[in-house]
């Protein structure tokens, strides 16, 4: 029994507790960011909440493995998260076609990184006393930064719930059942609330992220408590900083977000919306219980390419050290030496699809990955030479493919952009008319609109001779074929919602079992 207790004692640290309000303010728990720096069993976790109510109402309960000492808890500047978010976020890359008719053939393709960063902000979805004194014990009490922190231990969930309620915390209904497994695991509860006096004297408007470090063999994040007061799904970005390679979850599937796709030019203007819808579509396609890798990169000192392209400069050693990476060494070049790998995971979790806490493993996988989308601008100038005409024909096909890719990635109704391939010089999004790309297409098949656009000569190519007409015709055929092959099945597929998928799965399973049974009977017969 002693052994068992000792083993429980090294139980995991936990984040993503539920919010408990001290007043009836409307609270949201939509999305959060976590940085985990881990070297062997030494773990540093930094938590940034998305709390957007009145700060004096902020309170949080987090299960922790041990009674943390004062020096194991601190606050860090929020800019650390902004830095990592900007560095590792999905990116859009621009290329420019060179003019095939240009006398001076420039081989150089200019390449730039758009500032259009899909920040975490845009990815957030509207998702998403006395009688109890013997069961609740205050193990420690600290003031760290603007926070008052209590470390509680309890022997019974109802007692803990009652303690929290009587001390002015608003505990969501159903919390007691979720607290029980953590209490049974002999975990302590880290109760955080804001010390208004300190906050006012510091003049800060936003709460600083909290950081704790401890030693534990478990590499996990409890998310179950966080779901106690959330009916909708919540988003979380987890940045892991480890020595050997990328990090993945062991009890849920980790997969890469679709990347390195050529998308239409106008995506630059709506990149935030584009990525949000791409992400939603990926979640829908891969299943809700899936975790997406958005970035994985070798940041070791000996790796000179710390990002490619770099939307912002890579994090420097002081920033990494603030996040808990204590195994790097300064070297004489102002750089650092030592192994480091960053992984950015994005999870949209809810009670139904995430019954277990997230358990991670560090793998030796050192393959770099980034969520990267490419736009290519057409050539400028006169393209009336023979090569130019071929170029225009190819360009229109390419732009058509870009549109198909866009529809496939985001499930947008691309009918809005039917003339994007043909008006390749002057196509612009009508942003002033309240442009909102619609996800989930209607029954209308964009094929017809695209055909119509060709027939009505929406073509603003500056080349208007016989050859162009031929090229347009060829392209028209190609377009029709593309549409029939790619568009139609996609929309049919998208109509089948989650329930449809589920029913289809069950039906397939039944058919499969029946087939196997038949096969088996026959097999025994011969």
């Amino acid at each position: 029994m002693l052994l068992l207790l000792a083993l429980y004692h090294i139980d995991a640290f936990a984040f993503c507790g539920f919010y408990v309000a001290k007043a009836d303010a409307k609270l949201f728990n939509k999305s959060s960011q976590v940085i985990i720096a881990r070297n062997d069993d030494q773990t540093t976790i930094t938590m940034s909440s998305d709390f957007n109510g009145d700060v004096k109402d902020f309170a949080m309960v987090i299960p922790v493995p041990v009674v943390l000492r004062r020096e194991q808890i601190k606050t860090v500047n929020r800019s650390l998260f902004d830095k990592l978010d900007a560095y590792s976020g999905p990116r859009l890359v621009e290329y420019y076609d060179s003019n095939p008719c240009s006398v001076r053939e420039e081989l150089l393709e200019s390449k730039s990184v758009s500032a259009a960063m899909a920040t975490t902000e845009s990815v957030k979805q509207k998702l998403s006393k006395d009688e109890v004194a013997d069961v609740v014990k205050i193990e420690a009490r600290y003031t760290v930064g603007e926070y008052d922190i209590l470390l509680l231990s309890s022997t019974e969930s109802a007692g803990l719930e009652k303690w929290l309620t009587t001390n002015g915390y608003k505990v969501p209904p159903g919390a007691a059942e979720v607290l029980t497994p953590y209490i049974k695991s002999n975990m302590k509860f880290f109760v955080v609330k804001v010390n208004i006096d300190i906050l006012n004297s510091s003049g800060a408007q936003l709460l600083n992220p909290l950081q704790v470090n401890f030693n534990s063999p478990k590499f996990m994040l409890p998310i179950r408590l966080g779901m106690a007061n959330a009916t909708q799904s919540q988003d979380m970005i987890v940045y892991t900083l480890t020595k050997s390679g990328s990090v993945e979850t062991t009890n849920y599937r980790t997969t890469e977000i679709p990347s390195n796709k050529n998308v239409p030019e106008f995506v630059k203007d709506v990149f935030g919306k584009f990525y949000v819808d791409l992400y939603k579509n990926a979640v829908h396609r891969e299943g809700r219980g899936t975790i997406f890798c958005e970035y994985a990169w070798n940041l070791s000192g000996n790796n000179n390419v710390k990002c490619d392209p770099c939307p912002t400069p890579p994090p420097i050693i002081s920033e990494l050290q603030r996040a808990g990476v204590d195994w790097l060494h300064h070297n004489e070049w102002g750089n650092y030496s030592g192994d480091l790998f960053i992984t950015r995971l994005h999870v949209t979790y809810d009670r139904q699809h995430f019954p277990q806490d997230l358990v991670f493993q560090e793998t030796p996988n050192r393959e770099n990955f980034q969520a990267r989308y490419i736009i290519t601008h057409p050539a400028q100038g006169d393209v009336s030479c023979t090569e130019g005409k071929t170029y225009v024909a190819e360009l229109k096909k390419r732009r058509y493919k870009e549109l198909l890719t866009l529809a496939n990635l985001t499930n947008w109704d691309t009918e809005e952009f039917y003339d994007y391939p043909t008006r390749w010089r002057s196509f612009k999004l009508q942003m002033d008319e309240g442009f909102i790309p619609i996800q989930k297409a209607t029954e209308t098949n964009p094929v017809h609109r695209l055909k119509a656009s060709n027939q009505t000569q929406h073509n603003d190519s500056i080349v208007r001779d016989q050859t162009t007409t031929t090229i347009t015709a060829v392209q028209h055929d190609a377009l029709t074929m593309d549409c029939e092959n790619n568009f139609t099945p996609k929309y049919q597929q998208s109509k089948a919602g989650t329930d449809g998928d589920k029913n289809r799965s069950y039906l397939l399973a039944v058919i499969f079992i029946w087939l196997v049974w038949k096969l088996f009977k026959w097999f025994k017969g011969i």
Partner: protein, 274 residues
């Protein structure tokens, strides 16, 4: 009707399946691999698959030739498929190591006229222990009900054929009972916490295709069931208290070492595939 015609192609396919239980195993493992590549979008490197199969077949051929035996390509092929399904590496050369260890173990680590490690199991474990380049992804299958049915029924079909369903059930039941007692009865998690892991493709694949290896597992029926339960117990301990990922694979690796003693103490019949 079609199936009963002796001249139809499907007839010969089914006869091919019936001829050897390993054919079933190959068929289903290929289906799982295709599912992984096409439905779950695994990083499918043809080069890595080629290297795996080339290594296992070549090493198998060398050993068979040396011992003047018939080239046992089926067994090597199954080992290759298991490695493709489970083992992840950065460097393709690591796959050569894993494949070579797996096949060599069949010839070098023998007792009582049979090898006592499942080849893929020892290949995976030793490669992970001795190189910094290999890992397994227990979460790679996700948790979709369809896959659960697929692996389950396919597994049952193979195991009925080779009469090893007892081993699979002994392992699975022991493991799940222990997990249930811990998670639901002791920690008071809700039911779906427990059900979630039941859907794990990795656990089912292990149960139906690795621990039930009829050649390397103990010969005596009762002893084998006890042994499978012990593997489950060790796997539970390693997973719950030591936080080891892929615990069943490690548990099988350690307990395979006891198989020669079990075979020595409890007599049983030698297994024949056909």
């Amino acid at each position: 009707m079609l199936l009963s015609s002796p001249t139809s192609p499907s007839f010969s396919v089914l006869h091919w399946l019936k001829a050897d239980a390993r054919h079933f195993q190959i068929l289903f493992q290929v289906i799982f691999l295709c599912y992984g590549i096409y439905m779950l979008h695994w990083e499918a490197s043809p080069m890595k698959y080629f290297i795996t199969f080339a290594t296992v077949l070549l090493v198998q051929w060398c050993f068979n030739n040396y011992h003047r035996e018939v080239f046992n390509y089926k067994s090597a092929f199954i080992t290759g498929l298991s490695l493709c399904l489970m083992l992840k590496v950065n460097n393709p050369f690591t796959l050569c190591i894993a494949g070579s260890i797996a096949i060599a173990s069949k010839f070098w680590l023998k007792a009582n006229d049979k090898h006592f490690f499942n080849p893929a199991n020892i290949g995976i474990c030793l490669t992970m222990l001795f190189t910094d380049d290999a890992w397994i992804s227990p979460g790679q299958w996700g948790s979709r009900a369809l896959l659960f049915f697929l692996i389950g029924t396919a597994g049952f079909l193979v195991l009925f054929r080779i009469k090893r369903i007892d081993t699979a059930l002994a392992f699975l039941i022991t493991f799940l009972v222990l997990q249930y007692l811990r998670q639901i009865y002791f920690l008071r998690w809700e039911q779906d916490f427990f059900i979630h892991q039941l859907n794990s493709g990795t656990l089912l694949l292990f149960t139906f295709f690795m621990i039930t290896d009829p050649v390397s597992s103990p010969r005596n029926n009762v002893a084998r069931i006890m042994w499978a339960a012990a593997v489950a117990g060790l796997a539970f301990y390693l997973q719950t208290f030591k936080w080891i990922n892929g615990a069943p694979i490690w548990a099988l690796f350690f307990l395979s070492m006891t198989t020669p003693s079990i075979d020595y103490l409890f007599k049983g019949n030698k297994f024949n595939w056909k």
